[in-house]
């Protein structure tokens, strides 16, 4: 559905994207994961034909993003990072505006957006600028869908959104995917990567890996352990100065820990921590999650 072939984009001497290759299949929910400044937005602006690449080609549903940009814009729904809503139009006016621009009506495709739009319909006469962040997000998504696009491109739709609204948003995405719409979405949240069919990990303009979430987890090269103790901050500091430590990273109420060798020297570590005065030490082997894998990729590069 989307073929990104050897795409390079430069701003001055800076490579925002450097020979990027990705292929997204029809009906797929595909995630692009990467830190701020990795090139996610540039990539999406290229896919939506809003930027022209310096090198390479992007084919969307058979159309070239440079030569056939008019055809592409008809079949894509795009929700940019800061939601492209008209703040001085009401909720309803925004939706009608987007429908009209794409040569359709709200009524024609209402079925597709009903699920999402019904949350904000009680506020249909309110100016979009006066909506809360969560409501703006829902309106922006409704506007991006109102012409029933074949492909939906969402640039960090959940940044700054609370944990519960994020879960609801992803439930909506799954339902949209079930309507047969291909979805390309970027996010800085690792737990959301888990919900995609496949993800590409982008860093400094380059693709580090493209795989299923499980495939990325399977790539994790070491045995991973969770460590806990009474004083977790002191545990962080003490592990930093322990000679065996390869990585030690805070994960909520515990530390994810690896040693230089593939597994860990349990006895020696316990002894060291006891010498440092730690109490209630717990060391247990755990399965890595997707965030562990990404942190390892970032460390390697």
């Amino acid at each position: 559905m989307i073929k990104i072939l050897n795409i390079t984009k430069k701003y001055g001497g800076h490579f925002a994207l450097d020979a990027v290759n990705i292929q997204v299949d029809k009906g797929e929910l595909f995630g692009v994961i990467g830190p701020d400044g990795a090139g996610k937005t540039t990539l999406f602006r290229l896919v939506t034909s809003l930027l022209v690449p310096d090198d390479g080609t992007i084919i969307v549903n058979g159309y070239d993003t440079v030569e056939d940009y008019r055809s592409i814009r008809k079949i894509i729904g795009y929700m940019p990072g800061r939601f492209s809503l008209y703040h001085d139009l009401s909720v309803e006016e925004n939706l009608r505006f987007y429908a009209t621009v794409f040569g359709t009506t709200v009524e024609e495709n209402y079925d597709l957006v009903r699920d999402i739009y019904s949350h904000i319909e009680p506020f249909r006469n309110r100016l979009a600028g006066k909506l809360s962040g969560g409501m703006k997000q829902k309106l922006a998504l409704s506007c991006a869908l109102i012409h029933r696009p074949e492909i939906l491109v969402l640039d960090e739709p959940t940044t700054g959104v609370d944990a519960v609204s994020r879960k609801e948003f992803w439930e909506m995405l799954k339902r949209i995917q079930n309507e047969g719409i291909t979805i390309l979405v970027s996010t800085p949240y690792m737990d959301e990567a888990q919900l995609c069919d496949r993800v590409a990990f982008l860093q400094e303009g380059q693709i580090m890996t493209v795989n299923t979430p499980q495939g990325i987890i399977n790539d994790y090269p070491r045995e991973l352990f969770a460590l806990r103790a009474k004083d977790i901050y002191k545990l962080v500091l003490d592990l930093k100065s322990y000679h065996g430590t390869h990585t030690s990273l805070l994960f909520g109420h515990e530390i994810h820990y690896t040693e230089r060798s593939k597994s860990i020297d349990h006895e020696r570590l316990t002894m060291y921590l006891e010498e440092k005065g730690h109490e209630e030490i717990i060391i247990e082997k755990i399965e890595p999650g997707i965030e562990d894998s990404f942190l390892e990729y970032m460390r390697e590069s």
């Binding site: 400044g37 609370d162 800085p188 909520g252 109420h253 990404f294 970032m298």
Partner: protein
């Protein structure tokens, strides 16, 4: 923990017309604490933070910050707090040194103090080579460190961090929490909002707001027990969906 009171809030209520954004909030924040201020979008967090920072008046209730009340001592409140958010912090088209100097001036420090402070800060952060670079040209992790340090340039009693890690990669996020721990260890009070529930675990105590009210306030450990949850994410979902 030292039980010196840094923030005292009793019956804080803020109304916009008929809408009650903050509904009788009661809480204390102690010196050296990392106080997590959580809630769904629209729960009323930003309204409360604006009041605590002396940028907006309560409709009713008693609120003191760093020993000053937020009705008629807002200038003193502002001089004794630091504030950092992800979006509004540093000027991209000024250099590192210029940003420090600018904020020093805003906080009313004299020229000599600004000079001493900025030298100290640059040395501490290891920014000697970068001090004449534009903020736009330095990596995000460094910007964050600088923004955080600049927010404490005037030695405030408390620093407010409003979603300081939004949209940041997992590695930079963790480095930033190292810094938070470090300043809290030195006695600074940290008041922080976040949408990352793993970060809620790093706080000394956490309050969770819903529809203008504080639903619960306790240590992460106690909250997990109370709501029979494996982690703070589950606690949050139970409260916000409950």
């Amino acid at each position: 923990m030292n039980k010196d009171l840094v923030i005292k809030v009793r019956g804080l209520t803020k109304k916009f017309g008929d809408f009650v954004a903050n509904d009788h909030l009661d809480f204390d924040v102690y010196k050296g604490e990392i106080f997590g201020f959580l809630g769904a979008n629209g729960a009323g967090k930003t309204t409360a933070i604006k009041i605590l920072c002396g940028l907006s008046y309560p409709t009713s209730g008693e609120v003191s910050v760093a020993g000053y009340n937020v009705y008629n001592q807002t200038e003193q409140v502002k001089r004794n707090i630091g504030y950092m958010s992800q979006n509004f912090t540093l000027y991209e088209d000024l250099t590192v040194v210029e940003n420090i100097r600018f904020y020093g001036g805003i906080y009313g420090l004299d020229k000599k103090t600004i000079k001493t402070k900025s030298n100290l800060l640059i040395e501490k952060l290891g920014f000697e080579k970068e001090k004449y670079r534009l903020i736009a040209d330095i990596p995000l992790g460094w910007k964050q460190k600088l923004a955080f340090s600049v927010a404490m340039l005037h030695d405030p009693q408390i620093v407010f961090l409003d979603e300081p890690t939004g949209g940041v990669d997992p590695n930079t996020r963790r480095q930033f929490w190292d810094l938070i721990y470090e300043v809290s260890d030195s006695g600074m009070t940290v008041f922080v909002t976040t949408h990352y529930m793993d970060e809620a675990e790093y706080c000394s105590r956490v309050s969770i707001m819903d529809e203008g009210k504080i639903v619960t306030l306790d240590t992460p450990e106690n909250l997990k027990l109370k709501y029979q949850a494996a982690n703070m994410d589950e606690v949050f979902v139970k409260i916000a969906r409950g």
